[in-house]
Symmetry: C2
């Protein structure tokens, strides 16, 4: 694995667990057994490193959420849900960052892009829900699923059997979103 790719992975893990602003370039360099200068050789700045770390996840999220731009989910709801859950499972660390630091890292362009996508998602469900309670179901389902996955280990939850997790997540979220877009 190239040094650049290794730095990307280490930075993502540290940004997600300790927080972006609490993670110094010095620490990333030490974890990768290189010098701080080397980090700044591969990535022009700390912000560029953040962008490289979470950019792919945002691209994927945009792709997953693209079908929502149309009139509605229609009969493809389950497929959308599966795609969304797969996204959560594959990009846990990045989602963890969006969830926990998305609001505090405003003014960082790449985070702004993630927030925009999430806002679109929220707007879609807000538009397709007919009451405050339905709207809250969306928030709990999506936020809760993302939150639980990211902090499960901190709660002593075992989430190793990925396929079982996936099936349970889809079932629960499907229930929560039941009233939405069944028109």
């Amino acid at each position: 694995m190239s040094t650049q790719e290794e730095l990307r992975i280490i930075a993502l893990a540290e940004f997600a667990s300790a927080g972006y602003s609490a993670t110094s370039l010095q620490r990333i360099a030490e974890l990768a057994s290189v010098s701080k200068s080397s980090v700044l050789y591969h990535f022009a700045s700390k912000e560029h490193l953040l962008e490289a770390a979470i950019g792919p996840a945002i691209d994927r999220m945009e792709a997953v959420l693209a079908p929502l731009e149309g009139t509605g989910l229609g009969n493809e709801r389950r497929a959308f849900l599966e795609g969304f859950v797969d996204f959560l499972l594959e990009y846990r660390l990045e989602v963890n960052m969006f969830i926990n630091q998305g609001s505090s890292l405003v003014d960082v362009p790449v985070i702004e892009r993630a927030n925009t996508v999430v806002a679109h998602l929220a707007e879609f469900f807000s538009r397709n829900s007919q009451s405050l309670e339905e709207n809250m179901r969306f928030g709990i389902a999506l936020g809760g699923a993302a939150y639980m996955l990211c902090t499960a280990h901190a709660l002593g939850l075992d989430v190793t059997p990925a396929t079982e997790i996936r099936a349970a997540l889809i079932t629960i979220m499907n229930e929560l979103l039941a009233p939405v877009s069944t028109t």
Copy 2:
């Protein structure tokens, strides 16, 4: 309002929105229109300020979760749920901090206390659930409710009618926790 109390409130808001490590004492001082030295006069250190800011919320959380230490919820489940939701609504900012920064602020004693309480909560539901899916329902319900409340404004959600929010939250969480401890 005393300067000390004002600093506590300002610090809590900043810690919750921008993050603990991203918030400098200088900024808190400026928001309160006092000097940084004055902040450190009222609170011995940044960590003491954090403790003062979120300590009351942890006390309250411990009180709300105390009934779980026994054999189970029994027929007091709804009362517990209402107490928990009221806690979430009253201490939104503090809960936001536990959720978003609880894992990254380890080694700070007061945060450790909060994490311990949350771990107890998780352990209780883990013990009283009979499958992975039930366990995940707990995570989604509690985490999702807390998450949604704290970041609702960032998602464009309007959560001003507190009584309506409260009723909807209790309804949804009651559904999610339905299989748990109905024995």
